[in-house]
Subunit: 138 residues, 2 copies
DNA sequence: GTCTGTGCAAAGGATTTGCACACCG
DNA sequence: CGGTGTGCAAATCCTTTGCACAGAC
């Protein structure tokens, strides 16, 4: 996704390269952490309808350009699907989010599938760590 | 939690052993998978107010008797906090949930903390795997 | 030009809040 | 009895749906 432009990425998955979709992708690309729908609307340089953002995110998530992230809040967050397979540490006090890499999904999935009776393959995963950050502790 | 009765468990964390709280714990204990607030209301043998269930779950989650589970749905699910540290495989097609054990949190947390600049300890974690189950594939 | 995608309005569903009453300890 | 918890009503927030118009290809 880094190599290709967002226009190309959209075409590659059969989606039209519309303004709202490009803006959503750009805002997510700029942000360092997962964003809420409201965050995306606010941070877009072009005015976007909230409903449109919902529909863009749904299409982008289905096309695997975007990933939905749930962090025990009352709303979902979204981030670009990246090949580095990063995850998050979330402060249960102030909500700050830090990314981290290094989760051996292959091993986890394999181990899980070995004992599973209902599933034969894993397409995606979510791993979130929760703690209290240093600022909130002191 | 298995050894102690729910009444004792509540007392141990300084919560009053009220009917609604006991019913919520019992329903969650009976269920094999995480339940929604509506599930809990429906499956309780005693009539429970939905608002009360929300407040019970909040208190129980804070006391670490219950864990909130987010599976990319538009509502949260809840399950008993257990010492076996189980997680879930979710079918993105039909929504069926299967539990699995075997996730080396200690290693994951340690590796994440080693590179973290904001956090010094991890209290909890969530690991969810997503795939399409065998029934939906065929 | 066609058909997908957007914007606006409104509905739907989940969760939270306010307040008087109930009940645990 | 005193203070925590509950139930009901209503508000609030997040997300989805319907439909006419706009824009990508």
């Amino acid at each position: 996704m880094e190599r290709k432009s967002f226009v190309e990425a959209l075409q590659a998955v059969g989606l039209r390269a519309t303004h709202p979709r490009l803006h959503v992708l750009r805002v997510l690309h700029t942000a360092a952490v997962p964003l809420s729908v409201d965050d995306i609307v606010e941070q877009s340089t072009e005015s976007l309808d909230r409903v449109t953002v919902y529909r863009c995110l749904e299409a982008l998530a289905q096309a695997r350009l975007v990933r939905q992230v749930d962090l025990r809040k009352n709303h979902s967050l979204y981030e670009l699907f990246d090949e580095h397979d990063h995850h998050h540490i979330v402060c249960t006090s102030c909500g700050v989010i830090e990314n981290f890499v290094g989760c051996d999904v292959a091993a986890l999935s394999e181990s899980a599938l070995r004992r599973s009776t209902l599933f034969s393959n894993i397409n995606d995963h979510a791993l979130e760590l929760f703690g209290v950050c240093n600022s909130c502790t002191t």
